[in-house]
C-alpha cells in the first residue's frame, strides 16, 4: 500500500506536523460553521450603537430613548419589544426578529434593533410591510 509505505517513511516530526495541520483544518471548518449560527442583536439608540448580545443569550434588557425606557427580551433565539413609552406601540406589534437582517424599530423612541450574522436559506431579502 502506497499510503502505508509513505506513513512508514514519515519521521516523528513529520507526523506531528501532519497531525497539527489536520487539527488546524478541523478547527477552520468548525469556525466557519460556528459563524453561521452565531447571530447577534445590535441595538442603536439615536443612530448610536448602545447594546449588543448573542441571540442565544436569553435575557431582558432596557434601552433609553427620548420618550423613556423601551424594555426588550431575548428568548428562544429571537428578540422582541416587551414595553415601550411610544403612543402607538407599533414596535410591540412587530413581533419577533430572529433571522439575520431582521429589523425592529421604535421610531418615536428612536431605537433600532437589527440581527447580524450569516444568512442561510432565507425566503426573502427585503420586507414590505
Amino acid at each position: 500500500m502506497a499510503l502505508g509505505a509513505t506513513l512508514k517513511r514519515l519521521t516523528r516530526f513529520d507526523r506531528y506536523l501532519v497531525l497539527s495541520l489536520a487539527l488546524l483544518v478541523s478547527a477552520s471548518f468548525l469556525l466557519l460553521w460556528g459563524r453561521q449560527s452565531g447571530s447577534r442583536i445590535v441595538v442603536d439608540a439615536d443612530n448610536r450603537t448602545v447594546f449588543t448580545a448573542p441571540l442565544d443569550d436569553a435575557r431582558h434588557f432596557e434601552i433609553e430613548g427620548p420618550l423613556g425606557t423601551t424594555r426588550m427580551e431575548i428568548a428562544d433565539g429571537a428578540v422582541r419589544v416587551l414595553s415601550s413609552p411610544c403612543p402607538q406601540k407599533i414596535c410591540i406589534g412587530l413581533g419577533d426578529a430572529r433571522r439575520a437582517g431582521d429589523l425592529l424599530a421604535c421610531v418615536p423612541n428612536r431605537i433600532v434593533v437589527r440581527i447580524e450574522g450569516e444568512k442561510e436559506g432565507e425566503a426573502y431579502d427585503l420586507l414590505s410591510r
Partner: protein
C-alpha cells in the same frame, strides 16, 4: 523520501488555505439603517468599491433628510406646511409641483380614492397620538370640506387651493418619492445594485448579484410572518395595510387609511401591495386601491399601465393582477 512525505502535508496546506481564504459571498454588501421621515429606512448596496458604496449611501440618506424638510407636515417651514397655511396662490419648488401633479393624476385616475387634502383628518382621529378617538360626524364633514381631485390647481410652480382652509398631507406619496430620489442618488454615485426600503416602500436598483431581489410581503394578520414573496429587479414595491397604525374601540379597528368619501377608515381590505416603475406612484396607488376595496382596487391596478399588484380583502381572500403570476409566490 522527504518529497513523498511532503505530499500529504502539501495537500493539507492547500485545504487549510482554501478554508481560511473562503470569504462570505456578501462581503461586498453595505447595509445601513436610519430613522428618516418618521420611519425606519434601510439601504442595501452591492459593489466592489467600499468607498463608493459609503458615498452613495451618504448621499441617499442626505437626500431623504432634505425631502423630509420639504414635505413634512410636522415642520412648520416645510413647503407642505406653507401650502396648508396659504390662503393665496403659492410658488413652490419644481419638485414639489411635480409631486403634487403626480398625486392629482392618481387622484383623478382613482376617482378620488387617493387624496392629498386629508390633512385635517389624521389629527382629528389622532390615530398616531396617545389619545386616539372616533370623531363626531360633524367634525369629519368639516375636515372633508374642499377635498377632491380638483382641490388644487397647478400652473408650473404656482399652486392654488380651491378652498383656502384645505390642509395638505402627502403621507400617501412623499415617502415613495423620497425612496425614488434616494435610488437616483445611488445611481449617480455609480452603484448598480441596491435597494431602498422606507418602512415597506421599496425601490430596487438593478438586481441582487445577478439574481432577482426576493421581496417578502408582511402577512396582515400574523406578525412576523410573510404572506407572499415577489421576485423583482429594477421595480418599486409598496404595501399599505391596516395592521400597524391603528387603534381599537368597542371591537372595531380604526386605522390610518381613510376613505375620502366618508372620512372614516376604509373597510374593504387588510392590505394592498403594488408593483410599479417608481415608488411614488406605487405608494399612492396602494392607498387608492386599499380605499377602493378588493374589486374596484384590483380594477384600478389592472387599468394602470406598467402596474401590477395584489390585494388581501377584509375576509382574507386574495386577488392579484394577471402580470404577477410568474413572480408571485403565496406562502
Amino acid at each position: 523520501m522527504f518529497n513523498r512525505s511532503l505530499v500529504p502535508i502539501l495537500l493539507l496546506l492547500m485545504v487549510a488555505f482554501f478554508v481560511w481564504q473562503r470569504q462570505p459571498a456578501e462581503d461586498s454588501l453595505l447595509s445601513r439603517t436610519a430613522l428618516v421621515m418618521g420611519t425606519l429606512v434601510e439601504i442595501k448596496a452591492y459593489g466592489d468599491d467600499r468607498e463608493l458604496l459609503e458615498q452613495g449611501l451618504d448621499a441617499a440618506f442626505a437626500e431623504m433628510v432634505r425631502l423630509e424638510q420639504l414635505f413634512s407636515t410636522h415642520i412648520p417651514k416645510s413647503e407642505v406646511s406653507r401650502l396648508s397655511a396659504a390662503d393665496a396662490p403659492l410658488i413652490v419648488s419644481e419638485e414639489t409641483a411635480t409631486l403634487l401633479g403626480l398625486g392629482l393624476k392618481i387622484a383623478q385616475r382613482s376617482d378620488g380614492a387617493f387624496d392629498m387634502g386629508l390633512g385635517k383628518l389624521m389629527p382629528l382621529w389622532g390615530v398616531e397620538s396617545d389619545q386616539p378617538q372616533v370623531p363626531e360626524e360633524q367634525s369629519i364633514a368639516l375636515a372633508l370640506k374642499g377635498i377632491g381631485p380638483d382641490s388644487l390647481q397647478i400652473s408650473e410652480q404656482q399652486v392654488r387651493k380651491q378652498t383656502p382652509g384645505l390642509q395638505i398631507d402627502l403621507g400617501g406619496i412623499a415617502k415613495g418619492y423620497a425612496v425614488d430620489r434616494a435610488v437616483e442618488k445611488l445611481r449617480q454615485a455609480g452603484i448598480f445594485s441596491a435597494a431602498v426600503n422606507a418602512g415597506g416602500d421599496i425601490r430596487l436598483l438593478g438586481d441582487r448579484q445577478g439574481q432577482s431581489w426576493r421581496i417578502g410581503i408582511q402577512h396582515p394578520r400574523k406578525a412576523g410572518e410573510i404572506i407572499a414573496t415577489l421576485a423583482l429587479q429594477n421595480r418599486a414595491v409598496v404595501t399599505s395595510g391596516d395592521y400597524e397604525r391603528y387603534f381599537e374601540q368597542e371591537g372595531l379597528r380604526y386605522h390610518h387609511l381613510f376613505d375620502p368619501q366618508t372620512g372614516r377608515p376604509a373597510r374593504g381590505c387588510q392590505s394592498v401591495t403594488v408593483v410599479a416603475a417608481d415608488a411614488a406612484s406605487a405608494d399612492a396607488l396602494a392607498t387608492a386601491a386599499f380605499v377602493l376595496g378588493p374589486q374596484k382596487g384590483l380594477a384600478l391596478l389592472e387599468r394602470m399601465p406598467d402596474v401590477e399588484g395584489f390585494l388581501i380583502a377584509a375576509d382574507g381572500s386574495k386577488l392579484a393582477t394577471g402580470g404577477l403570476k410568474d413572480i408571485l409566490e403565496w406562502h
